[in-house]
């Protein structure tokens, strides 16, 4: 089968992060190619490179053997590459035919839009995939599965030869998934190349012909799906033994600092119970969307809950009262730094003291000297790099912004730290600094929850690892028996590891 697209030694660097670091991949017509890797392995970046959203740092993309450079999504579409996203990006109040031809309407000789021709073409394309939907249906009246189908029709309408499907089954029912497989097989028979991104191994073995595994932005392996087992793939995703350095420490675990009992929020997380001890780093691993961030937000009190209770020491923490959680010594470094962590247009000083304004105020007025002294002390502790502490946070790099968030929470003098993806998207130097900081605090008796989608970070830092999958705690591992493959397997559901087993 002919090679349609070839990536050769493709690299994409962002400031501080090597999102893609030498990836080679061959996409052939009439093949379903599974792209595999854990969160942050570089799959999304690869899709964005293929669809012209990101430009390359180095390397070459070939289409039909000729090198190309996509300057925009439009270039990529013109080359016949279309992506179908997790969250279908459609116009709900327009009809199917209007959605399909958005941006490349067919026109009559007079220049007017030729709706009749567009409808005919839509019917023809739907027929080719044996879909029975009227082109005049409004998209908002379609089910999620039908919207996916229309996205595929849309891809065909621009004569796409490569269709990228990013977790297409994520929100589909079993029956709908079967239908999707049928569709994918039809496309394959017609000679379309399909890049299929999925976390579910059953799916990969059911539908894919070939695979490529990425890890940390690097190419790890590829081959035919028939030649490997689930264990092989998990091993490739997880990588060999810990090849990164994490602080050495000998934890002294104390009494219970935080106790969560049967906490639930309908449709988000269910029946969550665990205990966190003083001096302990408790890792939370899971795939994106497993409900970890939502759980942490609910514990801290910035998100509601439908049942269950949270105790910090003796005090019960009520829902939607972050002030109470803070009074009990809880600090929460949220997942989304720019939206939830920092206030971009305010200065480093103002950000640092925001959560502890009372402590630096007298009679309700912040004392500028005290504020500056507090900020200077913390900035020094984290080696914050800024031209002035009065600089706005927007001018800082991601790593330095994260240092400001950490400073803000350390200024509240907490006893319990909840860190949600504290090293996401920051440079290696800052990452190491954050890791040694976590180790130091745990050694000083702080109780720490570390939520991370980076397997090695969780394994390297945690004394105990809890794994969440689809809103539930599914497995627990001690530091000594937390093996990368088992932890990842529990998160993905490839093995039948049970909690407490």
């Amino acid at each position: 089968m002919a090679e349609v697209v070839r990536l050769e030694d493709v690299r994409k660097y962002f400031p501080g992060v090597k999102a893609l670091d030498g990836v080679t991949m061959s996409i052939r017509s009439g093949e379903v190619h599974a792209l595999i890797g854990e969160n942050g392995a570089g799959k999304s970046t690869l899709v964005k490179v293929l669809t012209g959203v990101h430009s390359l740092t180095s390397g070459t993309v070939y289409v039909d053997g000729a090198p190309v450079s996509f300057r925009s999504p439009h270039d990529s579409q013109a080359a016949g590459i279309a992506a179908i996203h997790q969250e279908a990006s459609m116009f709900p109040n327009l009809t199917i035919v209007e959605n399909i031809f958005m941006g490349h309407h067919l026109r009559k000789a007079s220049g007017l839009l030729d709706w009749a021709a567009m409808k005919t073409r839509t019917r023809e394309l739907c027929g080719r995939l044996s879909l029975k939907i009227s082109p005049d249906t409004l998209v908002r009246d379609l089910s999620v599965a039908q919207r996916h189908q229309i996205e595929i029709v849309k891809a065909l309408s621009i004569d796409a030869r490569v269709i990228i499907m990013d977790e297409p089954t994520a929100s589909l029912s079993l029956k709908e998934i079967k239908e999707l497989y049928e569709l994918v097989r039809k496309l394959r028979e017609a000679g379309t190349a399909i890049v299929f991104i999925s976390h579910k191994f059953e799916e990969i073995f059911e539908i894919a012909d070939t695979y490529t595994v990425l890890r940390d932005g690097k190419y790890v392996g590829d081959g035919r799906v028939g030649d490997v087992t689930t264990d092989d793939l998990v091993r490739m995703m997880a990588g060999a033994a810990l090849d990164r350095l994490f602080p050495e420490r000998t934890p002294t675990i104390g009494g219970i600092a935080l106790r969560v009992q049967s906490l639930r929020q309908a449709g988000v997380f269910e029946d969550i119970s665990f205990e966190l001890h003083k001096g302990e780093v408790l890792g939370f691993f899971g795939l994106v969307g497993a409900g970890r961030s939502e759980l942490m937000q609910s514990i801290f009190g910035v998100r509601g809950r439908d049942g269950g209770s949270v105790f910090a020491g003796a005090a019960e923490l009520k829902a939607l009262r972050p002030q109470q959680a803070m009074a009990e010594g809880i600090a929460f470094v949220p997942e989304d730094r720019q939206e939830q962590g920092v206030i971009l247009d305010m200065s480093i000083v103002e950000n640092t003291t925001l959560a502890s304004l009372k402590a630096v105020s007298r009679f309700g007025f912040p004392n500028r000297k005290t504020e500056l002294a507090t900020t200077e002390r913390l900035a020094k502790r984290f080696s914050l790099r800024a031209s002035s502490l009065r600089q706005v946070v927007a001018a800082l790099s991601g790593g330095n912004q994260q240092k400001v968030v950490l400073s803000k929470w350390l200024a509240t003098e907490p006893r319990i730290l909840i860190l949600d993806e504290p090293t996401r998207g920051i440079d290696v130097g800052t990452k190491a600094a954050v890791h040694s900081f976590i180790g130091e605090l745990a050694d000083q008796g702080y109780a720490i929850i570390l939520v991370s989608s980076e397997l090695h970070e969780v394994l390297g830092m945690s004394d105990r690892v809890l794994v969440m999958k689809e809103g539930r705690l599914v497995a627990e591992f001690d530091r000594d028996n937390a093996e990368a493959e088992q932890v990842l397997g529990a998160a993905i559901g490839a093995t039948t590891a049970q909690r407490g087993a």
């Binding site: 501080g16 002030q323 206030i343 103002e350 800024a386 031209s387 790099s397």
Partner: protein, 340 residues
């Protein structure tokens, strides 16, 4: 920052533009009437716009936290009506004042409840309550006016401080502006307001009681509208359901022309004070030469649109002047760390 950058930053500030505008208005008014610059005229002219000026102060805080209250003029009509009813029922002046303040406070609290409980955008809610509050005034009064307020009531809205010639409303405005300025620029509350306006999510995630602060500000806005109703009623010694018509837009114009970002998070008390006097004296000058009120309305509308567009443009210009001269060291050093 070098000296030249600091100069650039100062002169391209919106407040500087307002000073120029204010001077321009003074020159215009002096050319229209040679008596304008007399102290007594300058002071007396302020009686006409102090109610709106005072209302601009809490509105400034509401807009800074990223909300808006369009119902303030309706609140004035309702408060003044209730005050009139109290007077007709034989209430004394202090009771009348309390009734007006209480009505305003309740109106503001209702706005707060609807906006925060039901998570509806405040612009939609307060457009609704604007009609509601004024509608109640119309239902109660029909096309009638309430008159017959006691002469002593006039002391507040028409009086002077002591035996001099300094208007009481102006004195109240200056005192309140000082308080609001200190709260906004020096206090913990003010810091929280800026934080909420810039990023309400991050503020909430930092443990700030965002909803409580917003509820307090809506209530305060209603209370101050009630106070403005007292001043206005005291100045004109009558109540009609159509008093203070379209003042909501003028108050918002004062705040936004003062450089407060309509999207929240930015603005200063100095800008608002300057814009109060700029617009106040501009309207005074235009009425001196008998410009019809409809035309004044057109000019106010244009000012509002201009006020929304211009401060942003100025900021861009000012940033560009500064960035041109400033290398951002952080990015460079960051990349070198990685390659090392």
């Amino acid at each position: 920052m070098s000296v030249s950058q600091r100069l650039a930053k100062t002169f391209v500030r919106w407040e500087a533009v307002l000073v120029v505008l204010l001077v321009g208005v003074f020159i215009l008014n002096t050319s229209l009437s040679p008596f304008f610059l007399r102290r007594i005229n300058l002071l007396n002219a302020t009686y006409n716009f102090m109610e709106r000026a005072i209302m601009a102060l809490p509105m400034m805080l509401i807009i800074i936290v990223g909300e808006i209250d369009i119902s303030v003029a309706g609140t004035i009509a309702l408060s003044s009506t209730m005050m009139g009813l109290a007077m007709q029922a034989g209430a004394s002046i202090p009771v009348m004042v309390i009734v007006a303040l209480g009505t305003g406070l309740l109106a503001g609290m209702l706005n707060a409840v609807i906006v925060l409980k039901f998570r509806v955008p405040s612009i939609a809610v307060t457009i609704g309550t604007m009609s509601l509050y004024r509608g109640i005034a119309y239902v109660i009064l029909g096309n009638q006016a309430i008159t017959g307020y006691p002469r002593e009531l006039a002391t507040v809205g028409q009086g002077v401080v002591g035996n001099g010639m300094f208007p009481i409303p102006l004195a109240i405005f200056i005192a309140l502006a000082a308080v609001f300025g200190v709260v906004l620029h020096r206090s913990r509350l003010g810091r929280c307001f800026y934080a909420i306006g810039n990023n309400a999510t991050a503020a909430r995630f930092s443990g700030l009681p965002v909803d409580r602060y917003k509820a307090a500000l809506f209530s305060l806005n209603g209370l101050v509208a009630g106070f403005a109703a007292v001043l206005l009623t005291s100045r004109i010694l009558s109540t009609r359901p159509n008093i203070a018509t379209a003042w909501e837009l003028e108050v918002v114009t004062l705040v936004v022309l003062g450089g407060v970002a309509i999207t929240g998070g930015k603005g200063s008390i100095f800008g608002v004070i300057l814009s109060v006097f700029t617009i106040g004296y501009l309207r005074f000058g235009l009425s001196l030469i008998n410009v019809p009120s409809q035309v004044i309305g057109i000019i106010t509308g244009l000012l509002l649109v201009g006020a929304i567009i211009l401060p942003g443009l100025f900021e861009k210009l000012s940033n560009r002047m500064i960035i041109d001269r400033q290398l951002i060291p952080d990015i460079d050093s960051e990349t070198t760390t990685i390659d090392a």
